[in-house]
Symmetry: C3
Amino acid sequence: MSITTRIGILTVSDRASAGTYEDISGKAIIDTLTVYLASDWEPVYRLVPDEAREIERMLERLVDEEQCCLVITTGGTGPAERDVTPEATEAVCDRLMPGFGELMRAESLKHVPTAILSRQTAGLRGSSLIINLPGKPRAIRQCLDAVFPAVPYCIDLMGGPYLECDEAVISAFRPGP
Amino acid sequence: MSITTRIGILTVSDRASAGTYEDISGKAIIDTLTVYLASDWEPVYRLVPDEAREIERMLERLVDEEQCCLVITTGGTGPAERDVTPEATEAVCDRLMPGFGELMRAESLKHVPTAILSRQTAGLRGSSLIINLPGKPRAIRQCLDAVFPAVPYCIDLMGGPYLECDEAVISAFRPGP
Amino acid sequence: MSITTRIGILTVSDRASAGTYEDISGKAIIDTLTVYLASDWEPVYRLVPDEAREIERMLERLVDEEQCCLVITTGGTGPAERDVTPEATEAVCDRLMPGFGELMRAESLKHVPTAILSRQTAGLRGSSLIINLPGKPRAIRQCLDAVFPAVPYCIDLMGGPYLECDEAVISAFRPGP
């Protein structure tokens, strides 16, 4: 019996979790992964307010209990008082992946000089990869297009499921030995 | 009654604080902000030696007591034994802004390969932004030109005063909603 | 009596330390430094498995006892479970040098999108510089070519020996005062 690949999508937003705002960012991530991935996968979608403890607990649950090999967050990465997603991510990760934030900011800088205000990071918890994306829907596809080619090989290296991409949309890069 | 916008300029230098060297870097920051900003502002200038505790206390005072919405430091960002400004900055900040250091180093790399030796960072203490600049006067304008377009919007997001730039000199970028 | 410049080369690899794999990466670093450096130097070569405590102790010995002004590691920088070289490096350093990792990843990104998976960093322990390189032999020369021009000046600033490069191969950059 093969186990379905599970990918966590965690929207961090006070307004969306209060129901006063539709979560179009979380939906945009699911839609993007749907066009990227050729292999089977299942989204595990969650929504929390901008509270460090709630973000941390949900990340722990998505990795430890829901068995997601990959968790993508959106929201809470800016300089506003309630933006604490990067701190919550660092708190639950064993090891950090600084290259993700560097590349996403460099990519966003091609479009807006305020890209440097995004504090997004990525890290590893056990054998799962957690990636922060910004909250703005238009930045989500830009950021994912930049970093996703490296994601399947990262998951290979951690002993996770083999993700296959729709090569007409995006190429997963796996270097030779 | 409107409150004047206060911006801290903190020079970190053993030699300048001992009076054996004129602080041209601090002055260069004030001069640059004077040509950048069209709205009213007031510099709060301070000078400390390369001592972590003194840097930390002065940053705390500039933010907590002097009510500066922005503090710009110069000096103490290299690899010499007494260079500890980034560590002092991280110690007083609640949250870090890695994009500032990344962009300033990338920009300086266009001019000198030793740009990677600059350990400068930026971060948030409460609702104030603290930015480290290198000590060399010629690097100050390069670094500020690179990051300043994002500074007014950052301060907006933290609920601070509305900074207006002289658009003939530099453009403050404020993305739409 | 002049003291010979000592440079530590530390290979971090379970397989190489178990003898099941020849350490071509450590050898590639020694070969590269041999063609780079015109001044006298002596390699201090060590090999440890991917164990955080062993890496930390060996870095401490190379700096504190073997008096290496520069230590270059290879291996253990990826996302696999046993890759812990960056964490061990941070644990023994007083101050970090984020610009090295940023530049090496940006340089490697020109060749492979998986460059963002490399978690390599650099830092200072006392007056010594420690630089992580990836484990793959082909990435070693790319990374060293990118960062080495800044290394001799870094060591100057820390009061270490004066390294001279073979200018036909690589230029050490030392900015004017």
